[in-house]
Symmetry: C2
Subunit: 467 residues, 2 copies
């Protein structure tokens, strides 16, 4: 028997199954509202439906799509449901999906400029666009000493900023101190761990009544550390904390960082997108004091995960911290010094063409369209907060600056946990929780692309009737 020449799909088959896949997605997104938001499966239930051994012979694509429906979909928590109010949103959108599709179809790899110049240049260009779109300081543009790059997540952005800070610092790693608030993201602690700083040298600075970092207490911490012979090296502030969307006071924190020569990283993962609208740009006030900044179009700007935009004021510091030049990567373009090689701006070597989906989204919606959704979500959240305020059984835990509402039932942790569990088990909406002032607090995060007023109204009916 002669072996078949190849097992690849023919172009005709690819077109056929490609259309079917597009239809699958269109159907999925049209119907996602009707599916239980939080998957109702039990641990092990999905695996139990999968064959224990892999197929020796290839199977039809039809069989794969059938299993997708029967096995995989029941095991999804539907992030694209308009009734998804948990964590922060992780939006996709039609142009983003198609941008990701083309990126996969091209299959180019942008570790070096030379390995696909367009992959690097489009990324630099679109990240410069975003500086203007969000009204960020010009220092982050590639035309000066700075520049932007796409990372997979705000966690990785915070980590590479910390690595750069550590390399710039003039002290042994064991002597370095990092600062964030008690409300700072867990990725800061994880980054400190990865970068090899001592865990006991991470300071969680106390916050004010709005859960924002207190500059006076930061200053005290730094002074105590200096007195103890330690070297303050990294301050991570947050524009929109995960728990409550608190906005740290960037101007005051930045001034302290500058005075003590501390790398100042600002994380606007969720809320940075709000700065598309001039009326919300106050969140970035003082950002010219930052050495690095990031926000996630993969949260609130219609770009499917992963797409974190990370900016540095001085790219040479980042590159110096992360560059290794082995023989096998040497090439004329790199040697000329005229190009950016983004491998030196990130932890992995290889990289996908992620700026395509970002470019597609900006062009499809236009700045105007993207602003529309930010305004809609903020307005819905503000309205939801009013309903909470007006109901004496509930209390607002903080004034929502943008589109996240933290609130709780007055009945205490047990009642709130029960409401949460009931809501999530119902499959009708999905909410997550946090603790603020040691009390269980419900988070209503309104930012899913297709969430309309009706979804928020239904959610409030469910919540206020006890889940």
């Amino acid at each position: 028997m002669t072996q078949p020449k190849h097992y690849h799909m023919s172009p005709e088959e690819f077109r056929h199954w490609g259309y079917k896949t597009i239809n699958w997605i269109a159907d999925y997104l049209e119907n996602v509202e009707n599916l239980p938001v939080l998957s109702q499966v039990k641990p092990g239930e999905i695996r139990a439906k999968l064959p224990a051994i892999p197929p020796q012979k290839g199977e039809s694509f039809d069989a794969i799509l059938q299993d997708l429906n029967q096995i995989i979909v029941p095991g999804l928590t539907h992030w694209q449901s308009p009734n998804f109010f948990a964590f922060f949103p992780g939006n996709n959108s039609a142009p983003s999906i198609l941008g990701e599709l083309i990126s996969a179809g091209m299959g180019v790899q942008g570790m070096l400029w030379a390995t696909s110049p367009a992959c690097t240049e489009l990324e630099t260009h679109v990240l410069d666009w975003l500086v203007d779109m969000l009204g960020l300081p010009n220092q982050f543009k590639s035309s000066g000493t700075g520049g932007g790059v796409i990372q997979d997540s705000a966690s990785s952005a915070a980590l590479v900023a910390l690595i750069a800070a550590r390399e710039v610092a003039k002290a042994d790693t064991s002597q370095l101190v990092a600062y964030t608030s008690t409300q700072g993201h867990s990725s800061i602690e994880k980054g400190v761990k990865i970068a090899g700083l001592r865990r006991e040298n991470l300071r969680l600075v106390e916050v004010d009544n709005n859960y924002a970092m207190r500059p006076d207490l930061l200053q005290k911490c730094i002074e105590a550390d200096l007195k103890a012979g330690l070297t303050p090296c990294y301050l991570a502030a947050t524009v929109g904390t995960t728990s409550s969307n608190a906005i740290d006071p960037i101007p005051e924190l930045g001034a302290i960082a500058q005075k003590h020569n501390i790398w100042f990283h600002v994380d606007g993962a969720m809320s940075g997108t709000a700065a598309l609208c001039p009326e919300f740009r106050w969140i970035h006030q003082g950002l010219e004091l930052a050495d690095s900044y990031c926000f996630n179009p993969h949260k609130w700007m219609m770009v499917n995960f992963d797409c974190n935009c990370f900016y540095v004021k001085d790219r040479t510091k980042l590159i110096k911290a992360l560059s290794i030049m082995p023989e096998f990567l040497k090439n004329q373009a790199t040697a000329s010094g005229e190009v950016i090689d983004y491998r030196d701006w990130q932890i992995p070597l290889g990289r996908r063409f992620r700026s395509l989906k970002l470019w597609f989204v900006i062009r499809h919606y236009g700045v105007e369209g993207l602003k529309h959704y930010v305004r809609k979500h903020v307005a819905l959240a503000q309205e939801f907060a009013q309903w909470v305020s007006a109901d004496s059984r509930f209390e607002l835990v903080a004034n929502p600056p943008l589109n996240l509402v933290c609130f709780r039932h007055q009945g205490g942790d047990e009642v709130n946990q029960l409401i949460l569990d009931n809501l999530n088990a119902s499959g009708k909406i999905y909410l997550s929780s946090t603790k603020l002032d040691h009390k269980l607090t419900l988070r209503m995060s309104i930012g899913q692309a297709t969430t309309e007023k009706i979804n928020v109204e239904q959610a409030w009916q469910l919540i206020s009737s006890g889940g």
Copy 2:
């Protein structure tokens, strides 16, 4: 004027442009052979064609696709060309593209089991499958103390292994020593830098005539370090080095690592896929001595970037090194201890549903189909090596164990550089180079999914006629 209700594409528009995008990819992949493999653009050429300011109003998808053709495609280096012989391959394939498409379309996020159980369980399941498919030691299966996870790259895999090794070690980071060979990947040096080990504490152990690490010299290094009061903690061996595809002697290295209680990481990024075929499984001999192992389906197994499969023998060590449990991520499933939360196995918090494309590929090709391509590429490379051997102007630099042939013209570095530059400027093929024994060496890497014998023959004609 009333504001439009939304700017999203309608489902009908999405279907329409989705089909067009599928057609775009089908056309691109059908014609990619005719495009210059290495992009011929100059630095800045792509950016110069892009508008300086982003669009305020949304644009038609048609306009976006036009710019894709006119601006972006000329700036691509075509990794999917059958004439791409540079670096290592970065294959995509029809089922992988469609798997990535569905992942983008679902837009779920698998940081926790609860945030999409299927995203976690399919990943665990398929990574267990691969242990059987490659004949890896059972210790890497999730059913015991180990388990697999998808990382973005072998760089990140090597880094998280190093972080785990550092946490396990009973000494201060400044005292820790890491080992790889002079031919080890640059990601090891980068990982050492990121993890905060001292640069002077990375040992590059000398290699034998086949460019494989010498166990006797490793042993000497370790003894010298112990004598100096340092703590050996991490050994990174390679199954198929980047420069020459050398296979480090895993059994001997593993025995040394075990004796000295050193974390033993084995990187099979490129060549691991060969183990699909029993006749190539010798490369993994001794792998039961490894604490961690990885290979990249995104290189030679038809899964588009990114998809690195990373395995550990003892998952608790990895999780302990990377886990942080903030309040906002607490949930019933995690608390039950019955589930895997993959955020604790990696650097970022968020994660895409990457196992979908891996599952699609395995099911579409079957193990049989995937083996077919490995065998084809190895056979082509062995034949190419014979042609080089038979031509007195050229020399083989190493016996190619699998599908990478290292060779050079006898005329010295200048002649080889000229050949390389001519070939790459011609756009007909794309080759990259390395240095072995301080001499410029051409690398013929044969692994692109659609490369046929005719492509390899044409390449040799071009090379042997001086580029």
